[in-house]
Every structure is written in structure tokens, then in C-alpha cells.
């Protein structure tokens, strides 16, 4: 018998749906719907009480109308009324309406909560499931407040039906996701973990999602799930295909659950217990072996299910990254899939191999598939597969194959799908830079990139090529020659003109000896592009022209004539006009010496993280530039001197850019400064001041800012010293603070220093530091800088001495979960006890000796003084020298304070 019999439809509903379907036009449909809405509204408002059947019918109609994309603004109350019906049919339709139509901030929630409460305590499993579903669907905070305590009890109670347990597990998961602070597992933890052993596979299926989520958030507390998951997995994997009856799907035993178990294990490192680990390795081997067996069915579902498990097993092997034998087997298996006739498998194989390429054990094995992957990039019909192939080429690239891969990617770019071109361009640019052995190859590659896909070459890419050319004198001549040749093309991309203009302006002299690229030829070539370019490019070209006057005095009259023409000196664009006027004047009044000083060659750029890499990270989210990139980059950085940064690891991991590079020429010129200026808040120095009060907050080529500060109770005073490092005065120097400050001298003479005093009062606890904005004119250019002032909550600490007994008593008093903040983090500096002590003292709390039973640990106590209140805080720092990790726990009477202190301190050690 079919589960849904077709005889019990509602006639009115069926007629209405047919009417809608027969509507010939959108207007007719809307008309019919409005008529129906009016009808239902009048029925709901009417005096006659509606019976359950009619209510159900109307609610169904509303649902249908909603699905068609029309707003439903009534009927909610009727649906809520249906919830309290005793009939399943009515109750069910009421819940359906609510889960589809009611959002989490509806004011009806209270009424709904009441109905749910009744159903949960009804002990009728069907009603309980309906109620649990409703909670999971709406999942609002109010619901969490009402039911977060109740549901774990239902979940682990011995007499709960299996189907209710399943629903309760997922319901709890949903509440945990929306309001983790309200779902307190504590005493339930071990019983929840043991659901993995439940006899009913459905219960395990539901529970494992809950356990996975909880393990990700609290790995330590749920550690015991590892051995349980391994034994469950092993039982499934070794079972015959008929053992699990209904959970066998096309001859594969419990594929879904197996996948989920393998996912859960990916939350943890390999098991420490040898027996557990042995059992797991055996499972993984069995899964890999099964892939080689002949299929038990020809149906695609069979191979799908089998491969779903296989891919998860491979992910786990890659995650562990510790079993060379398994890694190589995994790689071979994926290699087979790369040539499989199923597109889905090729796609997944490319994706998994991407992560595999980052493992040192299998990197070489992955590389053997390069031809297949290149072929996929060229021939796959599906763009999503081609994209995975491009990702994999990027991941498997190293010095040995960089030239081949970059060439392939470049040739693919010509036909690549528009949606992925920009990302491809970034990748090519990064690989070219990373693996450049000779820089002429690098320059060629980037110029090719601009030629092929100029529209997709972002500023970061062409900024970077200029940075590199300027910093490396062995490539400058070649670069000048190449851009000169590239500019010969009748149509060339504007980005090419920019790079060409900049490079010829700096290094045109290196190729001027050749009569085919004499100064005037160079100038005419550049100027022939001028009229086709946008304003910023024209501005850049004007700067290149004035540089030409310096490099090649013989071009002076020609260029002056160009600058003097109406189209320049009277240009409607202010920037262009200003440049034309200033450059013209400069070229006519300044002596050759002055001109030479002003227009001197650009100094090398300070080394920092490639801005392109930062852009790719931003594009893909910080986690997405997977560790293979970081790993390989680290390796290559040591090879390329001149591009590497002094501290590669810090630079790679910190997404913050270094101090703004204003790249001003050492003399008064402000030429081309705009090309590299950088906006954004600079908080580099900020964290260094958490544990100390005096020092240098900021420094670049122009300006140094020093700080001295002192704090007492909830008051503080900060002296800011602005030092001018240049020989020229800064004019209209202003600082603005988003809190009040005394004004500062508007003028700083060259080499001089001015002082500013800021008085600080802490009114209440805070997390955001005050921002200091500094603006001044240096030469002609306006400089703009925003800094975080290092005023942090811990500055207002009063140290409190106490004995061991008192400490632990207070520690226990502050036991609410939100009062505690904890972080586990890797040591950034050497773990020297004396240094740690000094830092903790600098924090402002009292460092308590002989309190913690473990002498390795540090405990501190203090009271934060704010005008509004005093916040007592306790701190415990547990170093683990072996793992080079710290665990930091802060408890205080105010949750925001604990959190903030924890964040601040985690960056210090």
C-alpha cells in the first residue's frame, strides 16, 4: 500500500491549485490569488467558528501561495491555534505552517512555546517529534531559553522512543548552534558520547552530527568519542553487506554513517592508544582494499556510496598526514579516479589531491599526475572541474615544474571562463614570483599576463612587478627593453601602459643607447598611448615625462611643449592640471642638480608580504589559502633573496600589512607617492603595549611616534611625541582622536619633535581602543594615518595580593561559564620564566607566588578600576614546554572583561 493514499485530498485545495495552474498570465494568477486571500481572510475573521478541517484547508492554501512567492501576512494566529488541537492532522499542519512561515523574532513565539511545552510533556512520541521539529526549524533564542534544559534530558532518558531520541539530538544541535551559551552539556557529556554505541542506527546517525559539532567546540571534553567512533566504524566496515539490513544501501553497509564517523575522527589527531590506532588503520586499509574489488552491483548508487566512504577515508588519511604508506595508496587511488569516466569522481579526485599535495610524504607522488591534470584543464567540459584542475596545478607547483605549469595556466587563460579569470591571474602572478629563478622570466610572465588578460590584472599584480623591478637592479635593463617592445603593439592594455610608463620613467636610460629606443622614440611611444588612457594613467604618464626630462635633457623642449599645451595645463581634471603646471615650472626653474635630486631613482621598497598573496587570501577567506601554499612559500622564501622578508613565518601568518609604505623620495619630491599609498587602520604597534607603557608606537620614513604613559586607579595620562624624521617641515599637522584631546602644534619643523598630552579616564570596561587619526602635509602630499592608541583595559588594574586559600575560593565563586574565558595557543616567543614574569607584572596584576600547586603555572589577581564599577579578575597561565603551547584562563566578574583580557594576552607570549 502506498503510504500516501490519493483519495484523501482536500477538494477546495485541489480546485484552487488547478485554477492557478490554468492561469494563462501572471496577472491572472495574481488576481486569482488575491481573490483567494480575500476569501480566506474573511473566513478567518468571520463570526462562524471554523472546524479543524477548514482551518487545515485554508492553511494549506496559504502555504501554496507562499511557495509561489507571495507574501503572507495573516493566518499565523490560526496556525498557532491548530497547535493546541488534539488531532494529529491539525496539529501537524499548524506546525508545518509555523516552521515554513514564522521567523525567529515573531511575537508569537511565546504562544508557540506554550504549545510546544504541552506536546513535549505529552509522552505521545508523534506529538513530541512534531514539537522538536518545530524547535529545530525556528531555533530562536527564546526557544533555546525555554527548552535548552529540557531537551538533553529527553535525549538520554532510558524510556525515550528511538525516533524521539533522534529528533532530540538534532534539536539540541540546532539550539547549540544558535545559543551555545544556553546549552550546557556538563553532566550529559559522557551519556551523549555513548549514544555512538546505541543499538538503533538511526539514533547513532542523528547523534553523530551533534557529537561532531560539540567536539569541534570542546575537543577535550569529548575526547572519549574517538575510541567509540573507531570501534563503531570497524564494526560497520567489517560487516557483510546484509548484516545491517535496512541500513545497507545498494550493497554498501551504512554509507552515510560511515562517512560521518570518518568526519568526526577528522576533528582529532591520530589516536594515541596503540590498539585503537591499529584498529583504525585496519579499517582504512579495508576501505582502500574494497575500492579494488569488483563492484557488487552495476548501479551508479552502489559505486557512489562506496566512493563516498572512500573519499572520507582519504580525507582522514590526509588529515593525519602521518602514515606514508596510506598516503601513497590514497594518492594512487585518486590517480585512478582522475581518469575515471564519471565526472563526479574526477572532480572529487582533483579536490582531494589539492590537499594531498601539501603533505611532504605525497607531494612527489601527486606531481607524477601533472600531465593528466593539465589535460583535464584543457579538455574537461565542465567549468567546475576545470577550476579544480587549476587549483590542483597551483597546489602541486614547485621549482621543478613551475615553468611548465605557469605556461599551461597562461595558455588556458586565453580561453578560460570569465568567472575564474581574476583568480587565475592572481595564481599565475604568485607562482611566477615564488618560483622565479631568473627575473627576466618573471617579467615576461607578468607582461604576458597583462597582454592576455589585462582586464583581470588587478592593481596588486602590476604594483608588485614594479616593486620587484625597482628592488632588483639586475633585471631593470631587461624590463625596460621588454616593456618597450610590448608597447609597440598597436593595441595594448592600459595596465601595460602603466607598467611601461613607470618602468621607462625610471629605467629608460638603460636602453637609450640603442638608436631604435632613443629617448625621443621612447617618449613618442608613450605619448602615443596617452590620449586613450584614463585619468590616473595619464597622471602616471605625466610623472614619467618629468622623469624623462631629468634622464634625458635632450627631450626637455619636446616635453615642455606637451606640458604647456592647453590640453594639459588647462585640463579640466584638477590632478592632471596640477601635475602639468608643477612639472612645467619645475623643469624650467630648477637647476639640473635640484632636478636630479628631486627626480632621483626610486629607492628600494621595504620588503613585506606580497600584496598579491594577501589579495588571494582575502578573496578566498583566510582559511582557504591552504597550508600547502604557506609551506611551499616558506621553503622558497629562503631561496629568493631580495623578495623574502626578514621573518617569513611572522609575515606569512599575519594578515596585517606592515607599516604603510609611503615610498617618498628622500628629498622633498612627492612624485609617484600615490602609487603605493595605503589606507586602513594600523594596529601593528598596538599589541606591543599591552604589557608595557613606554616605547615607539609607529615609525616610517617620515614620522616617528613615541609614547609615555602612566595610570593610577581609573585615570591615565599619555604623552605622545611626534618626531619629524625628514629635513622638511610638516604643515597643517592635525591629530584627531575619537575621544577628546588637546590640540597639537600644527607645524613640525624638520628634525623636530612635538608633544601632545592626553588625559584618560576609564568610565566603564571597553574592548575597542581609541583611534588616533593623523593628517599632515609633507611636501605637497597629504599624509593620512590612523593608529590604535594602546589604551587597553588592563591598564586600569590594581594588583591584589592574596593567599592560596583566598585565591581558590574566589576562583570557585567565579564559576559561571560566561565569567570564564579560555584560550589555548602556540608560543610565539621562547618560554623563558623570567620573561613571562616580567610580562605578567607589566600587565598590572599581582603575580601570586606559591598559590598554584604546579610551580610551572602562573596565577595573578587584580581589580580593574573603572568609574562605574570595579571588576575583580583572576588569571592562570599554564605553559606546556613540551608542546610549546599555553593555556590561558581568565575569570572575572564581568564576561566582556574576561573575553577582552584573554584576547589581549593571547597575543603576548
Amino acid at each position: 500500500m502506498p503510504a500516501v493514499s490519493k483519495g484523501d485530498g482536500m477538494r477546495g485545495l485541489a480546485v484552487f491549485i488547478s485554477d492557478i495552474r490554468n492561469c494563462k498570465s501572471k496577472e491572472a494568477e495574481i488576481k486569482r490569488i488575491n481573490k483567494e486571500l480575500a476569501n480566506i481572510r474573511s473566513k478567518f475573521k468571520g463570526d462562524k467558528a471554523l472546524d479543524g478541517y477548514s482551518k487545515k484547508k485554508y492553511v494549506c492554501k496559504l502555504l501554496f501561495i507562499f511557495l509561489l512567492g507571495h507574501d503572507i501576512d495573516f493566518g499565523h494566529m490560526e496556525a498557532v491555534n491548530l497547535l493546541s488541537s488534539n488531532k494529529y492532522t491539525e496539529k501537524q499542519i499548524g506546525y508545518l505552517f509555523i516552521s515554513v512561515l514564522v521567523n525567529s523574532n515573531s511575537e508569537l513565539i511565546r504562544l508557540i512555546n506554550n504549545a510546544i511545552k504541552n506536546d513535549l510533556s505529552s509522552r505521545n512520541p508523534t506529538f513530541m517529534c512534531l514539537a522538536l521539529h518545530c524547535i529545530a526549524n525556528v531555533g530562536s533564542r527564546e526557544m533555546a531559553e525555554a527548552f535548552a534544559g529540557e531537551i538533553p534530558r529527553i535525549l538520554v532518558a532510558g524510556d525515550t522512543m528511538d525516533s524521539v531520541k533522534q529528533s532530540a539530538a538534532l534539536c539540541l544541535l540546532r539550539l547549540y548552534k544558535t545559543s551555545p551559551d544556553l546549552v550546557l552539556m556538563g553532566e550529559w557529556t559522557s551519556r551523549v558520547v555513548h549514544l555512538l554505541n546505541d543499538q538503533h542506527m538511526g539514533v547513532v546517525t542523528a547523534a553523530i552530527s551533534l557529537i561532531t559539532c560539540l567536539s569541534q567546540k570542546n575537543p577535550d571534553e569529548f575526547k572519549t568519542c574517538v575510541s567509540l567512533a573507531v570501534s563503531r566504524l570497524s564494526r560497520i566496515v567489517s560487516s557483510a553487506s546484509t548484516d545491517l539490513q535496512d541500513y545497507t544501501y545498494y550493497f554498501v553497509p551504512a554509507p552515510w554513517l560511515s562517512c560521518k564517523l570518518l568526519r568526526l575522527l577528522q576533528c582529532y589527531p591520530p589516536p594515541e592508544d596503540g590498539a585503537v590506532k591499529g584498529r583504525l588503520v585496519e579499517c582504512l586499509e579495508t576501505i582502500l582494499n574494497k575500492a579494488q574489488e569488483p563492484p557488487k552491483s552495476k548501479k551508479v548508487q552502489h559505486s557512489n556510496a562506496k566512493n563516498a566512504i572512500l573519499f572520507e577515508a582519504i580525507s582522514l588519511i590526509i588529515h593525519y598526514d602521518s602514515e606514508p604508506n596510506l598516503l601513497v595508496r590514497a594518492c594512487n587511488q585518486l590517480g585512478q579516479f582522475l581518469q575515471h569516466r564519471e565526472t563526479n569522481l574526477r572532480y572529487l579526485a582533483l579536490e582531494s589531491m589539492c590537499t594531498l599535495a601539501s603533505s611532504e610524504f605525497s607531494h612527489e607522488a601527486v606531481k607524477t599526475h601533472i600531465e593528466t591534470v593539465i589535460n583535464a584543464l584543457k579538455t574537461e567540459r565542465d567549468v567546475s572541474v576545470r577550476q579544480r584542475a587549476a587549483d590542483l596545478l597551483y597546489a602541486m607547483c614547485d621549482r621543478s615544474n613551475a615553468k611548465q605549469i605557469v605556461a599551461e595556466m597562461l595558455s588556458y587563460l586565453e580561453t578560460a571562463d570569465y568567472s575564474i579569470r581574476e583568480e587565475m591571474v592572481l595564481k599565475v602572478a604568485i607562482l611566477a614570483e615564488k618560483y622565479a629563478v631568473d627575473y627576466s622570466w618573471y617579467v615576461d610572465t607578468i607582461l604576458n599576463l597583462i597582454r592576455i588578460a589585462g582586464d583581470y590584472v588587478s592593481e596588486e599584480v602590476w604594483y608588485r612587478v614594479i616593486q620587484i623591478v625597482i628592488n632588483r637592479d639586475d633585471v631593470q635593463g631587461y624590463a625596460a627593453k621588454t616593456v618597450f617592445e610590448a608597447l609597440q603593439a598597436p593595441a595594448c592594455h592600459e595596465n601595460m601602459v602603466k607598467v611601461g610608463g613607470y618602468i621607462l620613467g625610471e629605467f629608460g636610460n638603460l636602453i637609450a643607447g640603442d638608436p631604435r629606443s632613443s629617448p625621443l622614440v621612447q617618449f613618442n611611444l608613450l605619448h602615443s598611448k596617452f590620449h586613450l588612457c584614463s585619468v590616473p594613467t595619464r597622471a602616471l604618464l605625466l610623472s614619467a615625462y618629468i622623469k624623462f626630462i631629468n634622464l634625458f635633457p635632450e627631450t626637455k623642449s619636446t616635453i615642455q611643449e606637451v606640458l604647456r599645451s592647453d590640453s594639459q595645463i588647462r585640463n579640466s581634471d584638477v590632478e592632471l592640471q596640477q601635475r602639468a603646471v608643477e612639472y612645467l615650472k619645475l623643469s624650467s626653474i630648477a637647476s639640473t642638480d635640484v632636478l636630479a635630486t628631486v627626480l632621483e631613482e626610486m629607492p628600494p621598497f621595504p620588503e613585506r608580504e606580497s600584496s598579491i598573496l594577501a589579495k588571494l587570501k582575502k578573496k578566498k577567506g583566510p582559511g582557504a589559502v591552504s597550508n600547502h601554499l604557506l609551506k611551499t612559500r616558506k621553503a622558497c622564501l629562503t631561496d629568493i633573496k631580495g623578495i623574502s622578508t626578514p621573518s617569513p613565518s611572522a609575515d606569512l601568518l599575519g594578515l596585517r600589512a606592515g607599516p604603510p609604505v609611503t615610498a617618498a623620495a628622500p628629498s622633498a619630491g612627492s612624485l609617484l607617492v600615490d602609487v603605493f599609498s595605503e589606507a586602513g587602520v594600523n594596529d601593528d604597534g598596538f599589541l606591543r603595549f599591552v604589557c608595557k607603557n613606554n616605547g615607539v608606537l609607529f615609525e616610517n620614513q617620515l614620522l616617528q611616534i613615541g609614547i609615555k604613559s602612566e595610570y593610577r586607579q581609573n585615570l591615565g595620562r599619555m604623552y605622545l611625541f611626534y618626531g619629524n624624521k625628514t629635513s622638511v617641515q610638516f604643515v597643517t599637522f592635525t591629530t584627531t582622536l575619537n575621544v577628546q584631546a588637546k590640540p597639537v602644534e600644527p607645524l613640525i619643523e624638520g628634525g623636530a619633535q612635538v608633544q601632545q598630552v592626553i588625559n584618560i579616564e576609564c568610565l566603564t570596561d571597553f574592548s575597542d581602543a581609541p583611534l588616533l587619526n593623523i593628517k599632515f602635509r609633507y611636501g605637497g602630499a597629504l599624509q593620512n594615518l590612523t593608529l590604535k592608541l594602546p589604551v587597553t583595559i588592563n591598564k586600569f588594574f590594581q594588583p591584589t595580593e592574596m593567599a592560596s586559600h583566598d585565591f581558590f575560593q574566589r576562583w570557585k565563586q567565579l564559576s559561571l561559564p560566561q565569567q570564564e574565558a579560555q584560550k589555548i595557543f602556540k608560543a610565539n616567543h621562547a618560554m623563558d620564566t623570567e620573561v613571562l614574569k616580567a610580562k605578567l607584572l607589566g600587565l598590572g596584576m599581582a603575580l601570586l607566588e606559591n598559590v598554584d600547586p604546579n610551580p610551572e603555572n602562573f596565577v595573578c589577581a587584580g581589580v580593574i578600576q573603572t568609574k562605574a564599577q570595579q571588576v575583580g579578575s583572576l588569571l592562570r597561565l599554564e605553559p606546556n614546554a613540551q608542546a610549546q603551547m599555553y593555556r590561558l584562563t581568565v575569570r572575572s566578574s564581568k564576561d566582556t572583561v574576561s573575553k577582552r583580557l584573554c584576547e589581549l594576552l593571547a597575543e603576548q607570549f
Binding site: G7, R11, S18, Q92, A206, F311
Partner: protein
């Protein structure tokens, strides 16, 4: 986690939409349109996975879909789900519908929206999978159906209209 489950026909008409994260009604409709646009332009027999549309979270999410006769079944999931696993789940869902409705077709979904929702609720709850065992799901659906029947005995039962209305459109969506 499953972010959304969408069923629409070859012309983009939605037949079922279930979102497990909150969006405004407008956004939901836009997501359906965007998803249809992404999925329908793809050839048959290519990969069943693609990156999600911008509205539903871009490349963080994947769309995993199957195309049956007149209907697209699309699951939008985040990176914590196995692609092939979800593909199997879609198959289980469709086979279950097929058993419950006896050769399910698009019209069954239209006229029995509430039942389709109920069957789905037996499988997926709050974006997580509740049950994958087909016979368990069908047992539950049958039990509910029985309850419904016993309650509506007193009410006038009316013949099922759909097949009479347009027989032409009764194309079964699965051939298992």
C-alpha cells in the same frame, strides 16, 4: 550542514523549498531563481556539484543536484558534508517519494505539498540528517497517514483530482 533543499521544475517553478537558515522571503525567492539559473544551464551528464550562488554564500557552499525528468532536486550544503553522500541522500529522498506516492510525479508534489514536507522532515531536521533508512522513513509516513485517515473518516473524502485534470503531465520522475 544542509543550508537549503529546493525542488523546481525545468521551467524554474518551485515545487518545494525548505531553508534551514533564516532568509527574508524576498531573498528566498531570489535564491531559488539564482539556483535555477545556475543549475539549468548546465549540460546533462556533467558533474553534479558546483559552487553555490552568491546569495547563499558563494564558494563556501556547494550545490549538489540531480535532475529527474521534469524536476531538479537541489541540496545546498556547506563543506562539512560529503558530496557523494548527499547525492545518495537525494536518491533516498526520491525513492522514498516514489514508494509513498506510487510512481511519484511532479503533480504529486504540487497537490500534496504537506505530505512531501512531512517525508522530508523524517529525513532532515534543522539542516542535519535524521534518518537515511528508507523503510524506517516509509513506516513513519504510513503511521502518520493512518492517523490522518482515522481522524478524517467522518469527513467527506473526495477523489483525487490531479490525474483527471491533466493526465498528460503525469510523467514519473524516477525509473528505479
Amino acid at each position: 550542514m544542509i543550508k537549503a533543499i529546493l525542488i523546481f521544475n525545468n521551467h524554474g517553478k518551485p515545487r518545494l523549498s525548505k531553508f534551514y537558515e533564516h532568509y527574508t522571503e524576498d531573498t528566498e525567492q531570489q535564491i531559488i531563481r539564482e539556483t535555477f539559473h545556475l543549475v539549468s544551464k548546465r549540460d546533462e551528464n556533467i558533474c553534479n556539484f558546483l559552487e553555490g550562488g552568491l546569495l547563499i554564500g558563494g564558494s563556501e557552499n556547494k550545490l549538489i543536484y540531480r535532475h529527474y525528468a521534469t524536476l531538479y532536486f537541489v541540496f545546498c550544503v556547506d563543506s562539512s558534508e560529503s558530496e557523494l553522500g548527499i547525492l545518495d541522500l537525494i536518491q533516498v529522498f526520491v525513492e522514498t517519494l516514489d514508494k509513498c506516492f506510487e510512481n511519484v510525479c511532479e503533480l504529486d508534489l504540487i497537490f500534496h505539498m504537506d505530505k512531501v514536507h512531512n517525508i522530508l522532515a523524517e529525513m532532515v531536521m534543522g539542516g542535519m540528517v535524521l534518518e537515511t533508512n528508507m523503510s524506517e522513513i516509509i513506516t513513519q509516513a504510513e503511521a502518520h497517514n493512518k492517523m490522518e485517515k482515522s481522524e478524517s473518516e467522518e469527513q467527506v473524502s473526495v477523489g483525487f483530482l490531479a490525474s483527471a485534470l491533466d493526465r498528460k503531465q503525469r510523467r514519473c520522475i524516477v525509473s528505479v
